[in-house]
């Protein structure tokens, strides 16, 4: 009898285990409130927890999620959304036009909201009827739809948000496929299937457990010992070893972000004190001393795509008339001679992460061939951001996690009034194009405007874009239905363990 009980228990335990998806994250997410959240890794958890008005597909097209269709007004200053019927939040409340209005206003108005910048163009939101929302803008804003495919488009239960106020992130209530169960800081975040999810046919797990494991070796060890089904951010150096193991699969996608070097050319006095900031020829020589293919091979084990713009070469907004420059040491040396500084010296500020260090060393060695003396100053991340914002740097090696709309990779860094314009670059022709591309909805026209920007950036080099990393995922070979969307989110719809 006892044996039989034990057997049944064991069977039960194993089926329960089979329905849990265990995902290893590279960091512990921050607040689980879409309005306040700041980290990339937090968005991976939101992908299981909170549905958005729109989603992205593999080709970066905006596709319906909570909103089923949209229509721009003739003057492009209002966007009307039709909402999916019968959607409820995890507390049973209705996800309707009033909820959308509440959420957009919450994102825009909550003190300390990180969505404020993305939604500041919204002047008002009207709930036309239960399933129709009209978003009125102070000016046309092309990135709006793509902004709504991320946290700004995530809808939370108004009732729960009002009840818990600032503490909402401790127990978030959304309308995604899984609902929040518990979070033990730095240990795990547990979600369970929401039985009334509108698209429940696509959900094949009962639970998801997200486990932050910062050490990449340990994360991989957990996958290989079978304790995790999926890990994000596999180290490029682990790819060859895992490739030969049939029990696992590797998935990769070129990121939306980039790795680049920001050069202080006008942010502070320092810009005029070193040849790199002062003379565009020196910057050109520096870029010509770099071999992006070799950099990717050596520093990233080949797991990145070389690039020279804020979007990757396969993006529809990449300006093909401004191709990735090839290494040319002769020309670089000649430019330095013309500038009168055959051996210029500058400091490259670098975050302390090991891949950034490796990259900086390769760059240092390459630039040396042209006569540059690059000094690497590795600085703790938070401290380096502060120095960059104050203009206390000459060159700064920094990655940007990227946004689906090109404007999100460009405006804040290179518009004259961009809040993170650390380079201090301001060129009227480029600035006008950047601003105009924001209010132009037609993709062809936008691409034209971005071409103008790309040409100017290639000439002045406020940022030298280097490459776009691959998001590397590794998972159990039995896991199928994985979609590789460039935003790097792990979409749980359709995921299945065979």
């Amino acid at each position: 009898m006892r044996i039989r009980q034990a057997f049944v228990l064991l069977l039960f335990a194993s089926t329960v285990q089979g329905q849990t998806l265990r995902i290893g994250l590279a960091e512990d997410p921050d607040i689980l409130d879409p309005t306040m959240a700041r980290t990339f890794v937090g968005r991976i958890v939101f992908a299981g927890l909170c549905d958005k008005l729109f989603d992205l597909d593999e080709k970066l097209n905006v596709v319906p999620q909570l909103a089923t269709s949209y229509e721009w007004s003739a003057d492009n200053k209002s966007l009307t959304l039709k909402l999916r019927n019968g959607v409820t939040f995890h507390d049973g409340e209705k996800m309707d036009a009033r909820a959308v209005k509440f959420n957009l206003e919450r994102h825009r108005d909550t003190p300390g909201s990180n969505r404020k910048g993305e939604l500041s163009v919204i002047s008002s939101v009207d709930a036309v009827d239960a399933s129709t929302v009209r978003i009125n803008l102070s000016a046309p804003f092309a990135p709006l739809l793509t902004v709504l495919t991320d946290r700004a488009g995530m809808m939370v239960s108004p009732k729960a948000a009002q009840a818990t106020g600032e503490k909402f992130g401790a127990k978030p209530v959304c309308s995604g496929p899984f609902r929040f169960v518990e979070r033990i800081a730095q240990d795990r975040i547990v979600l369970e299937r929401y039985p009334n999810y509108w698209n429940k046919g696509e959900i094949h797990f009962d639970r998801i457990v997200y486990q932050p494991i910062p050490d990449a070796t340990v994360r991989l060890a957990n996958l290989r010992s079978g304790q995790l089904d999926f890990i994000e951010r596999l180290q490029p150096s682990d790819v060859p070893q895992l490739k030969n193991d049939r029990r696992f699969r590797i998935a990769k996608i070129v990121e939306l972000g980039y790795q680049g070097i920001t050069i202080n050319i006008g942010k502070s006095d320092l810009a005029q004190k070193n040849p790199l900031g002062k003379d565009a020829r020196v910057r050109e020589a520096f870029e010509l001393s770099l071999d992006r293919d070799a950099l990717v091979r050596v520093a990233m084990e080949g797991e990145a795509q070389p690039g020279n713009q804020w979007v990757a070469p396969n993006n529809r907004y990449y300006a093909k008339s401004v191709p990735v420059p090839k290494r040319n040491l002769e020309r670089a040396k000649q430019l330095l001679r013309e500038a009168g500084v055959p051996n210029p010296s500058f400091t490259l500020m670098t975050p302390t992460a090991s891949d950034a260090q490796r990259m900086a060393q390769v760059i240092q060695a390459m630039a040396k061939d042209a006569g540059f003396d690059v000094k690497i100053q590795s600085t703790e991340f938070a401290a380096s951001l502060k120095l960059a914002d104050q203009g206390q740097f000459e060159a700064y090696l920094l990655a940007w996690s990227g946004r689906a709309d090109p404007d999100g990779n460009l405006h804040i860094f290179l518009a004259c009034k961009g809040p993170l314009n650390n380079s201090g670059w301001c060129k009227p022709e480029a600035d006008e194009a950047i601003e105009k591309a924001r209010v132009t909805l037609d993709p062809a026209q936008r691409a034209k405007l971005y071409e103008t920007v790309a040409q100017n950036v290639a000439k002045d080099r406020p940022i030298i874009y280097l490459f776009h990393r691959n998001w590397l995922w590794a998972h159990n070979a039995k896991l199928t239905g994985l979609r590789t969307v460039p935003d790097g989110m792990v979409r749980v719809q359709g995921l299945k363990m065979n």
Binding site: R38, P111, Q211, N222, A383
Partner: protein
Amino acid sequence: MLRFLLQRLATIVPTLFFVSVLIFGLQQLLPGDPATALAGEERDPEAIRYLRQKFHLDEPLPVRYWYWASGVLKGDLGDSVRIQKPVTELILEKLPVTIQLATMAMLIALVIGVTAGVISAVKRDTWWDYGANVFALWGLSTPNFWLGILLILVFAVQLGWLPASGYVSPFEDLGANLAAMIMPAFVLGNAIAAVLMRHTRSAMLQVLSSDYVRTARAKGLDERVVVLKHALRNALIPIITLGALEFGTLLSGAVLTEQVFTIPGFGKLIVDAVFNRDYSVVQGVVLFTATVYIMLNLLADLAYFFVNPRMRH
């Protein structure tokens, strides 16, 4: 005895005040602005302004200290700004994990360290002694994270006997809990065992050559009684001191080991908080562990009384 206790307790208050000022002051020396660090890569200027205001970062240092210290006196350590959870709650969440890990590590360290120390002292200059010394050297010179990763590769990836990392509550599943904790506890205990072994050995050697041990032997007492009852008990004082100090260190979190095995204890909590400039968490946890440390030292002093009658006079 009572006077001694009161004396010690009286010194605790100024010590804790000093510690709190130190924690608060040292943290201000960290480069980088907490609001910028919190705002992350986007660091929207308006969000930064809001954070500065919310956490009183725009006010003078003494005022900020006052905000914090007055909260602490009321038992409120503040909230984690990163995940919006009260620091007290975070501490209570991590405390059982850390206590369990520290206790298991200490038990492993005591069993291995004291035993090896006694054996190597009693069997001085034999192969037993040399073996124990080699073990101590290995324990002292092996970096924790390296041993940790090695154990994971052998016992989790290759043999599949133990989970690679993670933590399970003992109330949920005791077996799984012990399986998850044994490797990190061994890694931590191994290093401490080495230190304990060296100290036990030298203390034992000293005691074993003393007059009363010779007398005990001359009386014809069994060697086991001489070693364990007469010698070891007197040799225990430095070991208790050391053990309490090491235990205190363990309770303040084993940063690298917790990181490697992803054990959600104090070490991980504090390191993440430092990197994210989550001031209230850093302050709260350090203050808490400092208090525990001071208390443990007090307990060690009290333990002398019970172990060694001479101290009672």
